[in-house]
Symmetry: C2
Subunit: 222 residues, 2 copies
Protein backbone atom coordinates (compact mmCIF):
# COMPACT_ATOMS: atom_id res chain seq x y z
CA UNK A 1 0.00 0.00 0.00
CA UNK A 2 1.13 3.56 -0.77
CA UNK A 3 2.18 5.39 2.43
CA UNK A 4 2.03 9.11 3.20
CA UNK A 5 4.20 10.28 6.08
CA UNK A 6 2.47 13.39 7.42
CA UNK A 7 1.56 15.69 10.31
CA UNK A 8 -1.97 16.80 11.17
CA UNK A 9 -1.64 20.56 10.81
CA UNK A 10 0.93 20.53 8.01
CA UNK A 11 -0.65 22.32 5.01
CA UNK A 12 1.64 20.53 2.57
CA UNK A 13 0.60 17.14 4.00
CA UNK A 14 -3.06 18.15 3.62
CA UNK A 15 -2.37 19.23 0.05
CA UNK A 16 -1.04 15.77 -0.83
CA UNK A 17 -3.97 14.04 0.95
CA UNK A 18 -6.40 16.09 -1.17
CA UNK A 19 -4.53 15.37 -4.41
CA UNK A 20 -4.47 11.63 -3.70
CA UNK A 21 -8.23 11.65 -3.00
CA UNK A 22 -9.01 13.75 -6.10
CA UNK A 23 -7.02 11.27 -8.18
CA UNK A 24 -8.73 8.29 -6.42
CA UNK A 25 -5.41 6.85 -5.26
CA UNK A 26 -5.45 4.70 -2.12
CA UNK A 27 -3.00 5.39 0.65
CA UNK A 28 -2.27 4.87 4.33
CA UNK A 29 -1.09 7.67 6.58
CA UNK A 30 1.69 7.54 9.15
CA UNK A 31 2.35 10.39 11.54
CA UNK A 32 6.00 11.46 11.55
CA UNK A 33 7.19 13.48 14.53
CA UNK A 34 9.84 15.25 12.47
CA UNK A 35 11.35 16.94 15.53
CA UNK A 36 12.54 13.51 16.75
CA UNK A 37 14.77 13.28 13.65
CA UNK A 38 14.45 9.48 13.40
CA UNK A 39 17.32 7.99 11.35
CA UNK A 40 14.81 5.86 9.38
CA UNK A 41 12.91 8.98 8.36
CA UNK A 42 16.08 10.94 7.58
CA UNK A 43 16.93 8.13 5.16
CA UNK A 44 13.63 8.85 3.36
CA UNK A 45 14.09 12.62 3.36
CA UNK A 46 17.37 14.19 4.52
CA UNK A 47 15.53 17.53 4.86
CA UNK A 48 13.52 15.77 7.62
CA UNK A 49 10.22 17.37 6.59
CA UNK A 50 6.76 15.98 5.87
CA UNK A 51 5.10 15.07 3.60
CA UNK A 52 6.97 12.10 2.15
CA UNK A 53 5.20 9.65 -0.16
CA UNK A 54 6.37 6.05 -0.53
CA UNK A 55 4.83 4.28 -3.51
CA UNK A 56 4.01 0.58 -3.38
CA UNK A 57 7.14 -0.27 -5.39
CA UNK A 58 9.29 1.57 -2.84
CA UNK A 59 9.75 4.80 -4.83
CA UNK A 60 10.31 7.65 -2.35
CA UNK A 61 9.10 11.15 -3.20
CA UNK A 62 9.86 13.93 -0.70
CA UNK A 63 8.59 17.53 -0.47
CA UNK A 64 4.93 18.57 -0.90
CA UNK A 65 5.47 20.40 -4.16
CA UNK A 66 7.63 17.65 -5.65
CA UNK A 67 4.98 15.05 -4.73
CA UNK A 68 2.30 17.19 -6.40
CA UNK A 69 4.28 17.46 -9.65
CA UNK A 70 5.11 13.75 -9.55
CA UNK A 71 1.48 12.68 -9.05
CA UNK A 72 0.40 15.01 -11.85
CA UNK A 73 2.93 13.40 -14.20
CA UNK A 74 2.32 9.77 -13.24
CA UNK A 75 -1.48 9.89 -12.76
CA UNK A 76 -2.57 12.45 -15.37
CA UNK A 77 -6.13 11.12 -15.90
CA UNK A 78 -7.56 13.63 -13.42
CA UNK A 79 -5.44 16.68 -14.35
CA UNK A 80 -5.25 19.28 -11.56
CA UNK A 81 -2.88 21.90 -13.01
CA UNK A 82 -4.48 22.91 -16.30
CA UNK A 83 -3.90 21.78 -19.85
CA UNK A 84 -1.56 24.39 -21.41
CA UNK A 85 1.86 25.63 -20.19
CA UNK A 86 0.32 29.08 -19.50
CA UNK A 87 -2.54 27.61 -17.46
CA UNK A 88 -0.07 25.48 -15.54
CA UNK A 89 2.14 28.54 -14.93
CA UNK A 90 -0.84 30.40 -13.41
CA UNK A 91 -1.72 27.39 -11.25
CA UNK A 92 1.89 27.07 -10.10
CA UNK A 93 2.13 30.84 -9.42
CA UNK A 94 -0.81 30.57 -7.02
CA UNK A 95 0.52 27.38 -5.43
CA UNK A 96 3.75 29.30 -4.71
CA UNK A 97 1.67 32.24 -3.45
CA UNK A 98 0.01 30.09 -0.79
CA UNK A 99 2.79 27.65 0.03
CA UNK A 100 5.39 30.39 0.37
CA UNK A 101 3.94 33.90 0.77
CA UNK A 102 0.75 32.95 2.67
CA UNK A 103 2.72 30.40 4.68
CA UNK A 104 5.32 32.99 5.71
CA UNK A 105 2.85 35.80 6.39
CA UNK A 106 -0.02 33.86 7.97
CA UNK A 107 0.35 30.11 8.61
CA UNK A 108 3.78 30.28 10.26
CA UNK A 109 2.64 33.15 12.47
CA UNK A 110 -0.52 31.39 13.66
CA UNK A 111 -0.23 27.59 13.36
CA UNK A 112 3.43 27.37 14.32
CA UNK A 113 3.24 29.92 17.12
CA UNK A 114 -0.04 28.74 18.63
CA UNK A 115 0.16 24.98 18.13
CA UNK A 116 3.64 23.75 17.38
CA UNK A 117 5.34 25.73 20.14
CA UNK A 118 2.75 24.54 22.64
CA UNK A 119 2.99 20.88 21.66
CA UNK A 120 6.75 20.87 21.44
CA UNK A 121 7.35 22.88 24.59
CA UNK A 122 9.26 25.57 22.66
CA UNK A 123 8.16 28.28 25.06
CA UNK A 124 5.56 31.01 24.89
CA UNK A 125 4.01 31.97 21.56
CA UNK A 126 5.32 35.24 20.14
CA UNK A 127 2.38 37.62 20.47
CA UNK A 128 3.76 40.05 17.86
CA UNK A 129 3.87 37.19 15.32
CA UNK A 130 0.29 36.17 16.15
CA UNK A 131 -0.90 39.77 15.74
CA UNK A 132 0.87 39.94 12.37
CA UNK A 133 -0.80 36.69 11.28
CA UNK A 134 -4.28 38.00 12.20
CA UNK A 135 -3.61 41.20 10.31
CA UNK A 136 -2.07 39.61 7.19
CA UNK A 137 -4.84 37.07 6.64
CA UNK A 138 -7.29 39.80 5.53
CA UNK A 139 -5.14 40.78 2.56
CA UNK A 140 -4.97 37.16 1.39
CA UNK A 141 -8.72 36.58 1.81
CA UNK A 142 -9.28 39.76 -0.21
CA UNK A 143 -7.04 38.35 -2.93
CA UNK A 144 -9.03 35.08 -2.96
CA UNK A 145 -12.27 37.08 -3.25
CA UNK A 146 -10.77 39.14 -6.08
CA UNK A 147 -9.78 36.02 -8.03
CA UNK A 148 -13.04 34.15 -7.37
CA UNK A 149 -15.20 37.02 -8.56
CA UNK A 150 -13.35 36.98 -11.89
CA UNK A 151 -12.70 33.27 -12.46
CA UNK A 152 -14.96 30.96 -10.46
CA UNK A 153 -11.97 29.12 -9.01
CA UNK A 154 -8.57 30.52 -8.12
CA UNK A 155 -6.50 29.78 -11.24
CA UNK A 156 -9.30 29.51 -13.81
CA UNK A 157 -12.95 28.47 -14.06
CA UNK A 158 -11.97 24.92 -13.04
CA UNK A 159 -11.02 23.48 -9.68
CA UNK A 160 -7.24 23.03 -9.58
CA UNK A 161 -4.20 22.54 -7.42
CA UNK A 162 -4.28 26.27 -6.67
CA UNK A 163 -7.58 25.77 -4.82
CA UNK A 164 -6.13 22.71 -3.08
CA UNK A 165 -3.03 24.63 -1.95
CA UNK A 166 -5.04 27.58 -0.62
CA UNK A 167 -7.64 25.40 1.10
CA UNK A 168 -4.93 23.29 2.74
CA UNK A 169 -3.56 26.34 4.54
CA UNK A 170 -7.00 27.75 5.35
CA UNK A 171 -8.24 24.42 6.73
CA UNK A 172 -5.35 24.38 9.23
CA UNK A 173 -6.21 27.92 10.33
CA UNK A 174 -9.92 27.09 10.40
CA UNK A 175 -9.11 24.23 12.77
CA UNK A 176 -7.81 26.90 15.14
CA UNK A 177 -10.88 29.08 14.51
CA UNK A 178 -8.60 31.76 13.07
CA UNK A 179 -10.24 32.61 9.73
CA UNK A 180 -12.44 35.75 9.76
CA UNK A 181 -14.83 34.35 7.14
CA UNK A 182 -17.66 36.74 8.03
CA UNK A 183 -15.69 39.69 6.62
CA UNK A 184 -14.86 37.97 3.33
CA UNK A 185 -18.06 36.62 1.79
CA UNK A 186 -16.78 35.61 -1.70
CA UNK A 187 -13.82 33.78 -0.17
CA UNK A 188 -16.20 32.08 2.26
CA UNK A 189 -18.47 30.93 -0.58
CA UNK A 190 -15.46 29.55 -2.43
CA UNK A 191 -14.23 27.69 0.68
CA UNK A 192 -17.71 26.24 1.26
CA UNK A 193 -17.61 24.81 -2.28
CA UNK A 194 -14.11 23.34 -1.81
CA UNK A 195 -15.00 21.98 1.63
CA UNK A 196 -18.03 20.17 0.18
CA UNK A 197 -15.92 18.06 -2.17
CA UNK A 198 -15.69 14.37 -1.25
CA UNK A 199 -11.88 14.66 -1.24
CA UNK A 200 -12.13 17.12 1.65
CA UNK A 201 -14.21 14.94 3.96
CA UNK A 202 -11.34 13.06 5.67
CA UNK A 203 -9.72 16.37 6.65
CA UNK A 204 -12.88 17.40 8.47
CA UNK A 205 -12.72 14.37 10.73
CA UNK A 206 -9.15 15.11 11.85
CA UNK A 207 -8.99 15.42 15.60
CA UNK A 208 -5.80 16.31 17.39
CA UNK A 209 -5.80 15.00 20.96
CA UNK A 210 -5.96 17.90 23.39
CA UNK A 211 -6.86 20.46 20.71
CA UNK A 212 -10.40 20.10 19.41
CA UNK A 213 -11.49 22.22 16.46
CA UNK A 214 -14.35 24.75 16.77
CA UNK A 215 -17.84 23.50 15.96
CA UNK A 216 -17.99 25.14 12.50
CA UNK A 217 -14.79 23.36 11.35
CA UNK A 218 -16.60 20.27 10.03
CA UNK A 219 -19.83 22.14 9.20
CA UNK A 220 -20.36 22.38 5.43
CA UNK A 221 -22.84 25.20 5.96
CA UNK A 222 -20.74 27.32 8.32
CA UNK B 1 12.57 40.76 -27.21
CA UNK B 2 12.00 38.54 -24.14
CA UNK B 3 12.55 40.53 -20.93
CA UNK B 4 13.73 39.28 -17.54
CA UNK B 5 13.00 41.54 -14.59
CA UNK B 6 15.68 40.76 -12.04
CA UNK B 7 18.00 41.84 -9.23
CA UNK B 8 21.75 41.27 -9.15
CA UNK B 9 22.11 39.15 -6.02
CA UNK B 10 18.77 37.33 -6.34
CA UNK B 11 19.54 33.59 -6.64
CA UNK B 12 16.22 32.93 -8.36
CA UNK B 13 16.97 35.61 -10.97
CA UNK B 14 20.39 34.03 -11.55
CA UNK B 15 18.73 30.63 -11.91
CA UNK B 16 16.50 31.91 -14.71
CA UNK B 17 19.44 33.66 -16.41
CA UNK B 18 21.34 30.35 -16.44
CA UNK B 19 18.34 28.38 -17.75
CA UNK B 20 17.77 30.88 -20.58
CA UNK B 21 21.43 30.67 -21.57
CA UNK B 22 21.50 26.85 -21.36
CA UNK B 23 18.44 26.77 -23.64
CA UNK B 24 20.00 29.38 -26.00
CA UNK B 25 17.07 31.78 -25.56
CA UNK B 26 17.78 35.47 -26.08
CA UNK B 27 16.65 37.97 -23.46
CA UNK B 28 17.17 41.45 -22.12
CA UNK B 29 17.46 42.18 -18.42
CA UNK B 30 15.80 44.98 -16.49
CA UNK B 31 16.62 45.70 -12.87
CA UNK B 32 13.51 45.92 -10.70
CA UNK B 33 13.87 47.64 -7.34
CA UNK B 34 11.10 45.58 -5.79
CA UNK B 35 11.15 47.62 -2.57
CA UNK B 36 9.78 50.61 -4.49
CA UNK B 37 6.61 48.58 -5.22
CA UNK B 38 6.02 50.21 -8.63
CA UNK B 39 2.37 49.85 -9.72
CA UNK B 40 3.54 48.75 -13.21
CA UNK B 41 5.56 45.94 -11.68
CA UNK B 42 2.81 44.93 -9.25
CA UNK B 43 0.60 44.50 -12.31
CA UNK B 44 3.13 41.96 -13.64
CA UNK B 45 3.50 40.15 -10.30
CA UNK B 46 1.23 41.00 -7.35
CA UNK B 47 3.70 39.21 -5.05
CA UNK B 48 6.16 42.00 -6.08
CA UNK B 49 9.14 39.66 -6.33
CA UNK B 50 11.77 39.03 -8.99
CA UNK B 51 12.29 37.25 -11.31
CA UNK B 52 9.46 37.92 -13.74
CA UNK B 53 9.77 36.84 -17.38
CA UNK B 54 7.83 38.58 -20.14
CA UNK B 55 7.80 36.66 -23.40
CA UNK B 56 7.86 38.47 -26.75
CA UNK B 57 4.10 37.85 -27.20
CA UNK B 58 3.40 39.52 -23.83
CA UNK B 59 2.96 36.31 -21.79
CA UNK B 60 3.92 37.07 -18.18
CA UNK B 61 5.44 34.35 -16.02
CA UNK B 62 6.21 35.20 -12.39
CA UNK B 63 8.20 33.31 -9.71
CA UNK B 64 11.58 31.68 -10.27
CA UNK B 65 10.34 28.13 -9.92
CA UNK B 66 7.27 28.71 -12.10
CA UNK B 67 9.47 30.24 -14.82
CA UNK B 68 11.79 27.21 -14.66
CA UNK B 69 8.89 24.75 -15.10
CA UNK B 70 7.40 26.89 -17.88
CA UNK B 71 10.68 27.09 -19.83
CA UNK B 72 11.17 23.34 -19.42
CA UNK B 73 7.69 22.70 -20.88
CA UNK B 74 7.84 25.21 -23.73
CA UNK B 75 11.49 24.78 -24.74
CA UNK B 76 12.12 21.07 -24.08
CA UNK B 77 14.89 20.58 -26.65
CA UNK B 78 17.59 21.08 -24.02
CA UNK B 79 15.97 19.20 -21.10
CA UNK B 80 17.30 20.27 -17.70
CA UNK B 81 15.18 18.23 -15.27
CA UNK B 82 15.70 14.62 -16.38
CA UNK B 83 13.68 12.33 -18.60
CA UNK B 84 11.55 10.19 -16.25
CA UNK B 85 9.12 11.29 -13.50
CA UNK B 86 11.46 9.82 -10.86
CA UNK B 87 14.49 11.68 -12.25
CA UNK B 88 12.46 14.88 -12.35
CA UNK B 89 11.30 14.31 -8.76
CA UNK B 90 14.92 14.02 -7.62
CA UNK B 91 15.87 17.17 -9.54
CA UNK B 92 12.90 19.05 -8.06
CA UNK B 93 13.72 17.77 -4.55
CA UNK B 94 17.18 19.30 -4.80
CA UNK B 95 15.87 22.52 -6.34
CA UNK B 96 13.56 22.82 -3.31
CA UNK B 97 16.50 21.98 -1.04
CA UNK B 98 18.51 24.93 -2.31
CA UNK B 99 15.76 27.45 -3.04
CA UNK B 100 14.08 26.89 0.32
CA UNK B 101 16.27 25.15 2.90
CA UNK B 102 19.64 26.55 1.79
CA UNK B 103 18.02 29.93 1.18
CA UNK B 104 16.54 30.03 4.69
CA UNK B 105 19.63 28.68 6.46
CA UNK B 106 22.40 30.39 4.48
CA UNK B 107 21.50 32.89 1.73
CA UNK B 108 18.99 34.90 3.78
CA UNK B 109 21.40 35.06 6.71
CA UNK B 110 24.33 36.29 4.63
CA UNK B 111 23.18 38.02 1.41
CA UNK B 112 20.14 39.70 2.90
CA UNK B 113 21.81 40.72 6.15
CA UNK B 114 25.09 41.89 4.66
CA UNK B 115 23.95 43.40 1.34
CA UNK B 116 20.24 44.13 1.23
CA UNK B 117 20.06 45.80 4.63
CA UNK B 118 23.05 47.94 3.79
CA UNK B 119 21.77 49.03 0.39
CA UNK B 120 18.24 49.62 1.59
CA UNK B 121 19.21 51.37 4.82
CA UNK B 122 17.34 48.81 6.94
CA UNK B 123 19.75 49.20 9.83
CA UNK B 124 22.65 47.16 11.13
CA UNK B 125 23.10 43.56 10.00
CA UNK B 126 22.07 40.99 12.60
CA UNK B 127 25.37 39.46 13.71
CA UNK B 128 23.70 36.33 15.13
CA UNK B 129 22.10 35.67 11.71
CA UNK B 130 25.46 36.13 9.97
CA UNK B 131 27.16 33.72 12.38
CA UNK B 132 24.39 31.17 11.75
CA UNK B 133 24.87 31.56 7.98
CA UNK B 134 28.63 30.97 8.24
CA UNK B 135 28.00 27.88 10.37
CA UNK B 136 25.18 26.39 8.27
CA UNK B 137 27.00 26.65 4.93
CA UNK B 138 29.42 23.83 5.91
CA UNK B 139 26.60 21.28 6.24
CA UNK B 140 25.29 22.16 2.78
CA UNK B 141 28.76 22.05 1.17
CA UNK B 142 29.21 18.63 2.79
CA UNK B 143 25.90 17.53 1.24
CA UNK B 144 27.05 18.75 -2.19
CA UNK B 145 30.32 16.82 -1.78
CA UNK B 146 28.38 13.71 -0.70
CA UNK B 147 26.15 13.86 -3.79
CA UNK B 148 28.96 14.68 -6.22
CA UNK B 149 31.11 11.80 -5.07
CA UNK B 150 28.24 9.40 -5.86
CA UNK B 151 26.70 10.91 -8.99
CA UNK B 152 28.98 13.29 -10.86
CA UNK B 153 26.37 16.05 -10.75
CA UNK B 154 23.87 16.80 -8.00
CA UNK B 155 20.73 15.00 -9.21
CA UNK B 156 22.31 12.38 -11.48
CA UNK B 157 25.34 11.95 -13.73
CA UNK B 158 24.09 14.80 -15.94
CA UNK B 159 24.12 18.55 -15.41
CA UNK B 160 20.59 19.64 -14.43
CA UNK B 161 18.47 22.33 -12.88
CA UNK B 162 19.57 21.06 -9.47
CA UNK B 163 23.14 22.18 -10.27
CA UNK B 164 21.81 25.48 -11.60
CA UNK B 165 19.76 26.11 -8.44
CA UNK B 166 22.66 25.33 -6.12
CA UNK B 167 25.20 27.31 -8.14
CA UNK B 168 22.85 30.31 -8.27
CA UNK B 169 22.87 30.57 -4.49
CA UNK B 170 26.57 29.82 -4.17
CA UNK B 171 27.51 32.39 -6.81
CA UNK B 172 25.74 35.12 -4.79
CA UNK B 173 27.63 34.06 -1.68
CA UNK B 174 30.89 33.78 -3.63
CA UNK B 175 30.39 37.39 -4.76
CA UNK B 176 30.59 38.29 -1.06
CA UNK B 177 33.62 36.02 -0.58
CA UNK B 178 31.58 33.94 1.87
CA UNK B 179 32.08 30.39 0.59
CA UNK B 180 34.74 28.37 2.49
CA UNK B 181 35.73 26.37 -0.61
CA UNK B 182 39.12 25.33 0.75
CA UNK B 183 37.45 23.06 3.33
CA UNK B 184 35.18 21.32 0.81
CA UNK B 185 37.28 20.07 -2.09
CA UNK B 186 34.67 17.92 -3.94
CA UNK B 187 32.11 20.74 -3.79
CA UNK B 188 34.80 23.14 -5.04
CA UNK B 189 35.65 20.86 -7.99
CA UNK B 190 31.95 20.63 -8.87
CA UNK B 191 31.53 24.43 -8.69
CA UNK B 192 34.61 24.93 -10.89
CA UNK B 193 32.98 22.71 -13.52
CA UNK B 194 29.66 24.57 -13.33
CA UNK B 195 31.38 27.95 -13.35
CA UNK B 196 33.28 27.02 -16.53
CA UNK B 197 30.09 26.54 -18.55
CA UNK B 198 29.44 29.23 -21.18
CA UNK B 199 26.02 29.89 -19.59
CA UNK B 200 27.76 31.01 -16.42
CA UNK B 201 30.02 33.60 -18.01
CA UNK B 202 27.62 36.59 -17.87
CA UNK B 203 27.16 36.09 -14.11
CA UNK B 204 30.91 36.42 -13.60
CA UNK B 205 30.93 39.89 -15.15
CA UNK B 206 28.19 41.18 -12.79
CA UNK B 207 29.44 44.22 -10.91
CA UNK B 208 27.33 45.92 -8.30
CA UNK B 209 28.31 49.58 -7.91
CA UNK B 210 29.90 50.12 -4.51
CA UNK B 211 30.32 46.39 -3.82
CA UNK B 212 33.03 44.76 -5.89
CA UNK B 213 33.43 40.97 -5.75
CA UNK B 214 36.66 39.38 -4.47
CA UNK B 215 39.31 38.59 -7.08
CA UNK B 216 38.58 34.84 -7.21
CA UNK B 217 34.86 35.44 -8.05
CA UNK B 218 35.44 35.51 -11.82
CA UNK B 219 38.48 33.22 -11.75
CA UNK B 220 37.71 29.82 -13.30
CA UNK B 221 40.73 28.33 -11.60
CA UNK B 222 40.11 29.65 -8.07
Amino acid sequence: MRILHHLWLSPLSRKVRLILKEKSLDFEMKIEKVWERRPEFLALNPACEVPVLVEEDGTIIADGNVIAEYLEEVYPERALMGTTPIERAETRRLIAWFDQKFNREVTANLVEEKMMKRFLGFGEPNSAAIRAGYQNIHYHLDYISYLIERRGYLASDSFSLADIAAASHLSCLDYLGDVPWEKHEPAKQWYARVKSRPSFRPLLTDHIPGASPPKHYADLDF
